[in-house]
Structures are given as C-alpha cells and as structure tokens.
Symmetry: C2
Subunit: 186 residues, 2 copies
DNA sequence: TGACAAAGTAAACACTTGTTTACTATACTA
DNA sequence: TAGTATAGTAAACAAGTGTTTACTTTGTCA
C-alpha cells in the first residue's frame, strides 16, 4: 500500500530516522518483519531509501518537497499544477556544504538584484569571483556586498541601486566570499 | 577532541546516517566502544545528537550551516564575521512540510518585490491569505502570482511592477496557495 | 472456476546494537 | 608531589537488527 509509505515518511519526519522492521510492523500493523522488508525493498526500488551495508538510509527523496511547474507571474497563464520533480532545498542551494555560510542582507544597495533587506544569502568562501558575481568584499577594512567586475586588473564593486555609488577599491581588497544563492521568508 | 566530532559530522554528511559505536571506534581509532559512547554523550549535551529510545539520532544542528552576521549592503560597514547561530535551511524556509510546494517564477510582474524570473517560491496550500501576502491565485481559470488585497469583499491582485495592471477578478477566484518563502540560485 | 502472482505469517538465524562494570593511563591542579 | 578528574581499555550483557526459508492467505484476471 502507498499509505504505508507515507506512514513511514511521517515517522521519518517525526523521529528524524527510519523505523526498524519491527517498528514498521507496529506502524503498519504487520505481523511479520518479512512484510516490513518487502515494503523497504519496494521503497528502495523507488529510490526513497537506500542500503548502506545492512543499514537502511533515507535518501534525499524522502526528505524532499514536491516541485510544481512554473507560475506565469507576468500574466495569467494556464499552468497545470503538475508535479515536475522533487528536490531537497539544502541540496539545491548548497553545493559545497563545508565552505558555505549564511549572511543577512541589510541596506538597499542590491535591491535591483532582487536582494531586499532581511534576505539571507548563502555565500561560499574561497570561490574565485567572476565578472557579474555578487560578492562579499572587504574593501579598505570594511565589509560590503556588491556586484564584482574586473577590467584590466581594475576592480569595481557596483551596487544594484541607482542611489548608491560604485566603489573602486583603493588600498586593500579581499573577496572573502561569492554569493551562490539567496532566500527570503515572509 | 573536537576533531572527533567533525569526523562524525563528515560521516553523517557522507552516509546520511550516524555511525554506530563500533564504526566510531574505527573512525576515531578508539579501541573501546566506551569511548564512543562518551563522545556521543558529549554530543548529546551539546545538542548535536539526541536519543530516541536507545537509538541515536542527529538533530538539526548536525545538518546545519553556520550563520554569520549581517552584511551592510547599503554601505561598507564593519561587520565582524562572527558565528551567530546555526540553522537548517529546510526548517527555516518550510514550517509546514506536508502542505508546502515549490513553484518557479516566470515573468517580471513581481520584480519590485524582489522576485525575479527563475526564482523558486515555496507556497503553502490552504493557508488563509492576508492583505499584502503574495498569493498563487486561479482567477478566471488562469494562474497568477500577485499581491493579495481585500477591501470590503472586493479583492484586488496587484503586481509589483508598474508596467503591469492590477487584476480585479470578475468571475471565479481561488487562492490556491500563499507564498511563504523564496529562494534563488546563481 | 482455476491458475498464478502478490502480500502476509511464523519462526529461526547470525550478527550488530548501545550499555555497563571494573580497571588503567593520562592530564591537570592545588 | 599527591590527588583527582578526564579519557581510554577490555570484556561481557541483553536486546534489537536485517535477513532468510517455508508456508498461508488474498486478490486478480483469463
């Protein structure tokens, strides 16, 4: 039954771990661990769980959210709310977990880039900055978040807001991180 | 040792599960499971893991990212890059996992709200819309994402872009979801 | 109705689990 | 220097683990 799988999913969300065969028996009212094993086998075929040796481990799929189609935000358009794919937010936003940090945006200098005050940006340290990247830079001893541009070894840090000025670092410039993704909560 | 904890963290990221005491012994070159238990005890005190009966379960902390301070995006300001807190992106963005879906933004009608084409929005179904919320609405049989406003039972769906017009639903209007958070990847 | 596949039961298997007790080595402080 | 926490070792424990084999029930479809 598919309901049994959602039962296990619920258990996983609640306990942050997968149930054992015996626990599955209790949850699904099985009387034999064999049935539990067959259920897990099926979930392994679906890719919901996988086996690490004899251990059963949840995959990204089990902890994922359904992804729907795109909304036509420009004008009303028919967009079937079909399930396209599922994904884990963490895995989508964070490619390199060990070098990734979160910063909170304050100020409005990047507002035209869709970065509002209070937004959180995920930055990756040690990543080389390319033209057009949004970077966290330490310029003349102070921190800032700006577009990064380099032309003939001349670096400019440009805001995404007409009311702010482009910065041309004079003394020391250290690109400490590159913005790889952003998120906002309402 | 603190390095032993990061060893376990690495194992957790790699295998999506915590190591057993015997595996910890191998990882940390312990010769007794007692040492492994003491390590886990310490991690439990720190809140990195917790016990579900006899089972050891990773908490949000173990799968979390370090959160730094805020960047003064408006103008260069001294912002110590101190670790403020740690958080899991999933838990931050998704309060109600079972009713949350992901949609991709297309079009530019919400651009002044910091929603660019290609952004992903997390929407929650069945949540009542309040004035000022960004909603996914099915109006006159078509889908759209707009600001929701209601004044004396008269509903208006307003874009965040001067070049688009406010929609006043005539026939059927169905608020199918409320935008609770957004994310963007560069 | 009968054949057949899928799902469930029961019991036993070898193995791993976290825990505990008693003891030893190391590090640090008064 | 002696005393004392802290960290590590060794061995044994009961309980729980996933797996397997043989059998029974259930459901489906020609």
């Amino acid at each position: 039954m598919n309901t049994h799988i959602t039962t296990i999913k619920d258990f996983y969300f609640k306990h942050n771990r997968l149930p054992s065969y015996r626990e599955i028996c209790t949850l699904c009212k099985y009387k034999s661990t064999r049935s539990a094993k067959l259920l897990i086998d099926k979930m392994e075929d679906t890719g919901l769980v996988e086996r690490d040796g004899k251990k059963i481990v949840a995959t990204e799929l089990l902890g994922s959210l359904p992804v729907l189609g795109r909304v036509e935000a420009g004008f009303p358009a028919p967009a079937q709310e079909e399930l396209l794919d599922t994904m884990t937010i963490d895995d989508y936003l964070v490619p390199n977990k060990s070098a990734t940090y979160i910063l909170e945006v304050s100020g409005e200098s990047m507002i035209d880039a869709g970065l509002l005050p209070g937004d959180l940006v995920l930055v990756e340290r040690g990543k080389p900055a390319k033209n057009g990247d949004i970077v966290i830079a330490e310029v003349d001893g102070k921190w800032t978040m700006k577009y990064f541009f380099q032309k003939n070894s001349r670096v400019s840090l440009e805001p995404a807001n007409k009311n702010f000025r482009t910065i041309y670092p004079t003394q020391e410039l250290k690109i400490s991180a590159v913005v790889i993704s952003t998120m906002r909560k309402y």
